[in-house]
Symmetry: C2
Subunit: 335 residues, 2 copies
């Protein structure tokens, strides 16, 4: 398996991307390789800095002269920069030179490049990004978190199906409990999209639909997959990020005031916690539904996140997630 | 001023409602009274249990033979129960027997009763619920959190105006920074509603619009009022509730593992924190835009929340929030 890493994406590119590629060695089977895609000079300079002599045993470098920055318009920038690392990497995937792509760069541009160059799996109407949210109970997948801002009911049904397959493959969650994010559990509650989706999900046998869920249910251990429109999912994801950091800080501050003699231990506990809620530990989010393996990392990713994304890409392939998605989404078409 | 309290609403009714009415004494000006509305026998029995001999110095009891439970359909239950505490209380407000209403009961039914019996302020298109979210920086008002599930741009503009006036009146925040909740700060990002609202808000001089904000900005001290559609706001509110509890629990657990000899102090710190993120401390959320003062409390409210709601109702009246809303929303009509 050959896994591409966008060496130019992310807030710390190419440093963390190169480090992630090097750290991924232990995850690779014999014959597997990671391919750093981007400006060759910058990549080779960073490889040299890292001082790992035998990197070429598992890492390749593929030159791409351009790159897309975080705030560029996805479609416009892809058209203007045909030799950008994202365009080159997704085309390599399309042409069979890669079996997976990883980027911590401009998410919108990655999604657009994937849709443009890889297309959708047969039967899938819209790809969706599934993020795994850490909670004190179980990991919960939220899909979609921003690939598809305005959805139709069939899109949401397929998100439930695809994210369930993914949770089985990556987190060994069998028969994932799928909830539809709404403003109350009753049938009558929600907007028009939720009401129509609810009927579809109830009628579909491919998804273990447990009904509507509310925001608080994400943290209660009662649901494995939360399905929502990309607009809502993106708001939710950013809120969780911002809030976890804020609440942890407040708690540690309060504890430090009560026990000023134990600042060292409090700091140590804080570091453990930050890790628990750290997206870097969760290895990126797949763009489910494209005819390929595309793993989206957070812009602030460090080498651990890149390395974990390599792990996710490998599991995704071995567990044949796309083959399962194609099989199950075909039947939603016929229904 | 006469302030009505729905004695039959809330998870702990009528106990906490009666206690809240009693505790509100210190907030009342001479001549002010609180009126407990609901089943007279139950209310008088609880008043007796509390053992406050001179309660009739500031509390009245108004009998209503019916009440609406938490999961009943708002409009259907109001029609079926014309003598419910919510129907009776909002009609008393309409008829001038009360100048404010408080309920911790069925939010949907309270909103419906308020709209039916009190109507909207002139110029206001849809009432919205504004909740103040505690953060480690500043309190942030989120509006709407569920009165209006599907909004038009003018509704959102008016939420920005109304919540700004409210933040000034209740939290002394002048010229509140208003952000539109979206999935990115750029003009091009968001759904159709956000894009159209953005144009309206930019053109309106009655609101200090700072642009689109994301979920994480709620916790960064950069915005005072976050405007969103009721569906999204309700999801966000429930998520914040569930997450604050979950994260605090995780942090305390982690600290307790590192310092098993200091469980008492850790518990004490935890209690302080729970208070910081406790909605009971924040006194209920106003339904902005109705021709009256309606304060919605959380179903799990204890007496402190009811007491705080009495305080909010008083400030709302004294600071002439409705007069200001009428003045400013009139001009959005003309624009």
């Amino acid at each position: 398996m050959r896994i591409g890493i966008d060496a130019m994406g992310g807030d710390h590119a190419p440093v963390e991307e190169v480090r992630g590629a090097l750290a991924a060695r232990e995850l690779l089977a014999p014959g597997d390789r990671v391919v750093l895609v981007g400006q060759e000079d910058a990549i080779r300079a960073q490889l040299k800095t890292e001082g790992v002599a035998d990197w070429d045993q598992w890492v390749d470098v593929r030159h791409a002269s351009q790159f897309i920055t975080m705030n560029e318009h996805p479609v416009t920038s892809l058209r203007a920069k045909p030799d950008s690392s994202l365009a080159v990497m997704t085309k390599m995937h399309r042409d069979g030179e890669l079996q997976a792509c990883i980027s911590a760069g401009n998410t919108g541009a990655f999604v657009a490049a994937a849709q443009m160059n890889l297309r959708r799996l047969p039967g899938v109407h819209r790809p969706g990004i599934a993020v795994i949210v850490p909670t004190s109970h179980n990991p919960v997948a939220v899909c979609d978190v921003g690939a598809n801002i305005q959805c139709r009911p069939l899109h949401l049904l397929q998100y439930g199906i695809m994210a369930s397959i993914y949770m089985d493959a990556i987190c060994s969650v069998k028969n994932a409990r799928v909830g539809l994010l709404s403003v109350g559990e009753e049938d009558a509650k929600g907007n028009e999209l939720v009401k129509a989706t609810r009927q579809l999900m109830k009628a579909d046998r491919g998804v273990n639909f447990i009904g509507n869920v509310e925001g608080r249910d994400v943290f209660r251990g009662t649901v494995d997959v939360v399905v929502c429109e990309g607009f809502v999912g993106n708001v939710v994801l950013k809120l969780i990020e911002g809030m976890a950091a804020g609440v942890i800080k407040s708690v540690l501050k309060e504890i430090a005031m009560v026990m000023p003699d134990h600042l060292d231990k409090i700091k140590a506990a804080g570091a453990g916690l930050a890790k628990k809620f750290d997206f870097n530990e969760y290895g990126g989010a797949p763009l489910l539904g494209v005819a390929g393996i595309c793993i989206i990392c957070h812009g602030a990713s460090d080498f651990r996140a890149i390395k974990n994304a390599v792990r996710v890409a490998g599991d995704f392939s071995r567990r044949q997630v796309n083959e399962q998605i194609t099989e199950l989404c075909k039947s939603t078409e016929e229904a």
